[in-house]
Symmetry: D2
Subunit: 479 residues, 4 copies
């Protein structure tokens, strides 16, 4: 119950197209990544022999957007797909990814998870040189950077272009004969390589491989640009490949990634979350009758906490999974109903009891306050809030939609005092310490902890958090 | 992962309509009952002073069907609603409830959860006397039974009609000035009364009250017919009221009802499920590394099992909640993908481990087999399946959609031998015993256990499980 | 530009179903009758050997509602269909015809063009005897009247029921083995019999036969009830068959029917309209430069007028056929735009010219005023309005949606003076005389002229023009 | 019943936005131009003070695509719109106009009626220089040609770009402060300037002005580029402005333009069509009982023919205006039904009669043959087909969708013999002579007659009639 991720990406170089349909596998891949973005989705396929692309991109969820008829129209043996949490309302339709354009020698498509910090500067430069932008997403900058030399030497062109962009990017791209996967030298966002029969697949998380029974091979390395064609794999590397420290997004472990995924070197998200809970119990346990998670993201940490503390785990909040986008908002007389639409307490559990509530993080604090209030009304005697990550102090500039800093409750109030606890109405409140977090994730990899310590691996200076847009395109769904 | 319930019902007699909109409360009520039926929904409201009803009924889920504009059109101070799992394909649209008709003195509407065992006989009789049927649901029989004397003495008419029907029925009805709630003398299906300010609400489960902050008052008694009008409540009783034993559906506890609901005398569903798990651990524990539930319905039993056995609880299967009706079915080359769309194993947990899997019931066994296979592939060393209810031997005739008896795995194979275990591929399989079940649910109430012991409280003789229908109406959703 | 008709009906007893699909022929039949009602449409088909009906009924036009998939689902060898102009807003969906119900021995369906004058009385009587109404259309009364003896002797039952109803009715009905066509003894609305190979078809107008290449055989006679089954045709007659004078609706000739149809004894609608124009020229010609019709309905009369008067015919008003229901209404600053959306003048024709404008009728006068104003602005020097029917003085109670009498301009102002002319802004205004009308239509048949002379063949006493309805069902299209 | 036009365009520089909504006027303007393209439509508006554009573009007709809510979102005081007949199936959605892009200094939008003959060459050149194409329409070439110098001197940039393109183009464009209208030096397609209060409007045809009560001011001159801003109008001219002969498309007079429009120097389309008919009667009259048009396009010529020949005009074919895109195609057993869906004969008129049928042109001849066959079946004794334009011999490369030359019946058979007449089944067939045509249209302007005489004003050499496309984007409407 916190930040919103912006994208999930999937790609396939299909050498078994008589056996598996490219578009169908891409569809399943996106479906397994649906949690990374629910507002729009798109699939682009390419017929290698005809050098033609077929695309379908719409607002909405994967299972609503596509049907068999559509997938049948998406012919081809290379496919890429994208799910997206869109941040900019009415202009969404124009910006649905993957982006598809025509270069001199044929089509090119790209899907992006991450955020570029120098896209505004590059965009101005490119426009001054005559580039015309059709969208307002930073991804289009990459396409224009590639435009000059593209058809002479594609590999060189792509490397040159990617060397110019700064920030977070995990990319899948598609040209006449290639599927290309790339990851920024910091490795902010995850991206993994898998194998299905003789075919290659790339996905933001390994849960996409599990679903289609592909095997996890390895991560795309930070700074790697992997070209896949009929001859197999070829790895090239960006110029900062060895120069910069890795900076994997720790929030992928805390909240974004699916618990059944392996990311950042094959680490189990579920295990780490449980260990965050264990560590939290070691650091700040309290006597209580039960431990309950805020579902679904708090469940593994609560299990870990319960196992460490020997306080019984209970599923005391029932999540309603039928809540959709179109839900009618309650009026004044039914305040606090919004949180109940999603979570209802098992009231009988709580009467006169001391409860430890485990959540993965606190951002604004709004939901936490409502949950505590709801449990109090249900009869809980004591409510101890335990958070399986440190206080969130900084906004993210690497692909996650965070509130402005002055909306972060740990920025407004002092997390070292009782201010936040009082604000939320809890009897006690403890966060996982930064040290504790580091102990759990280990030192074999480097992580970006900017949202907790404000140390930004790539300077976000000059980046506008809500860039000025001049092109608003309305979609049917807006209206 | 078992039977399918057929309906949820909700009603409100709104004395605070300037504060709460009747249709909006009915909408939230239905939303909280969405788990009881996801294929169609309807709301009917009535303006008492104008004696007019407004209805909107469609295929699909509550949050998709209704919007603010529609709710604003549904004016009135009495409202009833219905969610339904429809069993009969193309003819669904014609049969969406609530049913609304016009008697001589005004409109009448009815919503039904349950199943009548003598509806075919009554239908023939009524047709011979000139009744014309517009739908193929058994509920229409009730309306025709009431038609003769309706406007002379409504109370008497309703009692007379309900005395003629046999089987399971929890009903909410609405006439010019009344909201009426009724329950068959056996009390097969739950139905509760609540209060919201000066207004009265009736719902299949108390979770509907929680959402709108209504207070649970009491159950509608088996055999009670409760008339609510501007003067308050008035209870009448059916003639079998004292003559028959209660027969509450035990499957509501095992699977149907929401864990946060109180049913059948205010019993907590969550607590009972946990106790099924505890009892199961007492009866048939086995050495293992972890206990995992088949989510979501198996969670409370697995927690109980874990607490009783001191074997750690893990959320080892991750449920994907984005699966919708329109999902594209995988082709031949992706067999077993269907179950993975819903459940993915946290593979890292299982390698070389002994696992106890808790599910609420086994019906056909198909899903259990796939889950065990999936866990085996993920590396589990031993898989012990424990079921928190006894073997299902009999079909249900009281409002639940069950497979024919010869499709029930415990009917086909002998649950006292290892046949089913072998069929499913488990290392061991144990069910909760019937005695164990009875101990947990207690003896203060009587329950229908027909699906476990084939002792049917009301003879289902003569009932057709798939009655002949002559009117097929297509809906947009079918096409 | 005048009254609105309420229905078109079509039926087929298909003996060539291997060659022609029942539902497809019904679809084309309805399509050819679309001008008789554009707000909803429905098709019901029946498989004789299975005694099952299949129906699909929706708001909207025939070509929007049905597609190949739907028609394929509508299996069978008897089919009936209905198009409807619905008069009652939100409740429309519930009342879409054909009506389909289940009697004791099987399904029954009915489609109705016309209006019953004693339906309110019959409805009350039937409700007192226990009939339950699911719709608010008068057609349901017929079904209830038939309910008692239906399955003993269908023919007798239908005749008995139809003898009880009064008013205008052209009906197609369908039972287990029969297609039945019936027409009230006055013959208010048209209904014709045709033949297609070995199959029988029935339709409101012969243009439906033309489209599917069926041959026109004869009219269903006023008072005739025609039963069609595998043995062929059998005619029975209602008790008033010989007792009452025919009263064919003359407005079918003036406005409703398609000009390419033959109705009321095979009379050509086009020829009659031309002759109305000729007679009008004889009665009240004036010197002018051109004759222009208000398209499309005024075209044949304008041609007749031009031929008789030798004043050139010009298509001076261009009709825009893209105007649909969903058109956005112009705001204040674009007044009079509404009529221009439909009709635009060929301005160059009119400068300084004397123009005779031919319209089929004047009801409220609103459109006529706007047209005259528009022509005046386009530069016309003189505008002479000629109407090819007499002044409309009375409302219709026999199946046509007319304004209340006090909204009819010829009731409000005196058609014998210059009041209406002045109101409309014309330089002169003349109507076809009642005598002239009679001369053109001839004396071989009797006609209902009630809208011109207020002599009502069947007393409309006691009929409510906007009957009280208690059941409002919303459709997706309302919202 | 012949060629298909490809576009209609509309633009407004609104100085009265408090009085008239920019988007609403654009909507009405497009509505009046709907006959020029029915497959997609789009509106783009621009707020001058914010330098932001708002766009909405969809497949379908104007009245279906837009609603009040959408128009309210399209804020601004400059607006352009486009209706389009799309030729390329699945790829349609990507190519819907107007095109909207972002240059360095703000947004730019363009809508195009016409066809460029050198777009393929320019596209390759631009791609070689690094331009990236997002669409497959030739219009995007214009945008890229402008990209280099755009924000230094917009006027110069636009002139320079337009000087490079060859072929037919009537354009409306929109930049931060300007509405711009331009027309190729040949003046192939019409484009007119109008005034509404203090606001300026531009439209393909003057019928768009009539609807919104704007006054026709003058045509945009061939070769003129008109810049409209807050200071008023400023005209610049393309370099070929004086060098080339005008080549107005004569088919606009014959078929495309609305009869109530004034085009190519304010000529009345209706009058010209009548005069084509008069001239045709002078050239090749025949004795007959009546003259009937193929509606709607043949009506004025038939009136002219009738007036010249004194043979009575009859509306003998009734057009059904309810036929839509989604109409279900008849099967084998209902051959020839397709034409009847649109046109039904008034059979009674034709028995034993000699008929002159007037159509505007013959392209493939398919429809003409069916009509003649239909009239023959209706009993006509003689059928004389008269065409109010010369035989079509050449394809069009200037913005009209024509069949390939070998599908043109006058290319396959010799129009100077009886071959075509025999093929169509007529008793006689005569075309308007090329001389006759020229006499009617006069010599004050020059016209493109390439479809009749194959003299192409701009060489179409090198143009591909179905250019290779590599980007297929599916729309909801395709699927």
């Amino acid at each position: 119950m916190s930040f919103k991720d912006e994208c999930g990406i999937f790609g396939i170089y299909n050498n078994n197209s008589e056996q598996f349909t490219t578009s169908l596998l891409t569809y399943y891949g996106l479906f397994a990544l649906q949690h990374r973005g629910q507002e729009s989705a798109g699939i682009v396929t390419l017929e290698r022999d005809k050098n033609k692309t077929y695309s379908y991109r719409q607002m909405g969820r994967v299972s609503k957007i596509f049907n068999e008829n559509i997938l049948n129209h998406l012919a081809g043996d290379i496919g890429i797909g994208h799910v997206r949490y869109s941040t900019h309302g009415a202009s969404a339709i124009r910006n649905i990814q993957p982006l598809v354009v025509e270069f001199g020698n044929g089509p090119f498509a790209i899907a992006h998870n991450g955020n570029l910090v120098n896209s505004d500067i590059l965009r101005k430069e490119l426009q001054n040189e005559g580039s015309i932008f059709h969208t307002t997403v930073d991804t289009e900058v990459i396409v224009h950077l590639m435009s000059k030399g593209y058809y002479q030497d594609m590999e060189n062109t792509i490397i040159t272009a990617l060397n110019k962009i700064k920030g977070a990017f995990s990319l899948v791209m598609m040209s006449s004969n290639n599927l290309i996967a790339a990851r920024d030298p910091y490795g902010f966002r995850p991206l993994s390589l898998g194998k299905l029969g003789d075919s290659w697949v790339v996905a933001s998380e390994t849960s996409a491989f599990d679903l289609i029974r592909a095997e996890f091979v390895r991560d795309i390395e930070p700074g790697e640009v992997l070209f896949i064609d009929k001859n197999g794999l070829k790895s090239l590397f960006l110029e900062d490949y060895k120069k910069v420290n890795h900076a994997h997004c720790v929030f992928e472990f805390i909240y974004f990634a699916r618990p059944d995924s392996l990311i950042f070197g094959g680490k189990s998200v579920y295990e780490l979350r449980k260990n965050f809970g264990r560590k939290l119990a070691q650091e700040s346990n309290v006597e209580a009758d039960m431990v309950i998670p805020v579902p679904d993201s708090g469940v593994p940490a609560a299990i870990g906490y319960s196992q460490e503390s020997n306080i019984p785990f209970e599923m005391g909040l029932i999540r309603n999974h039928y809540v959709g986008r179109s839900f009618i908002q309650p009026d004044q007389n039914l305040r606090d109903l919004a949180v109940k639409l999603k979570l209802n307490p098992v009231r009988e559990l709580f009467k006169g009891k001391k409860i430890i509530v485990i959540d993965d993080s606190i951002v604004r604090g709004t939901t936490s306050r409502k949950i505590i209030n709801m449990l109090r009304e249900a009869g809980a005697k004591e409510i101890h809030l335990r958070i399986s990550s440190p206080p969130v102090l900084g906004s993210c500039y690497y692909g996650i939609d965070t509130p402005a800093q002055d909306e972060l409750i740990a920025n407004v109030f002092d997390a070292n005092t009782t201010e936040i606890k009082d604000k939320l109405g809890a009897d006690s409140l403890e966060y996982l310490s930064l040290n504790g977090l580091n102990e759990v994730i280990g030192t074999d990899h480097k992580y970006c902890l900017a949202c907790f310590n404000k140390k930004y691996p790539v300077s976000p200076k000059g980046i506008e958090r809500s860039p000025q847009m001049s092109l608003f395109e309305l979609s049917k769904e807006d209206l």
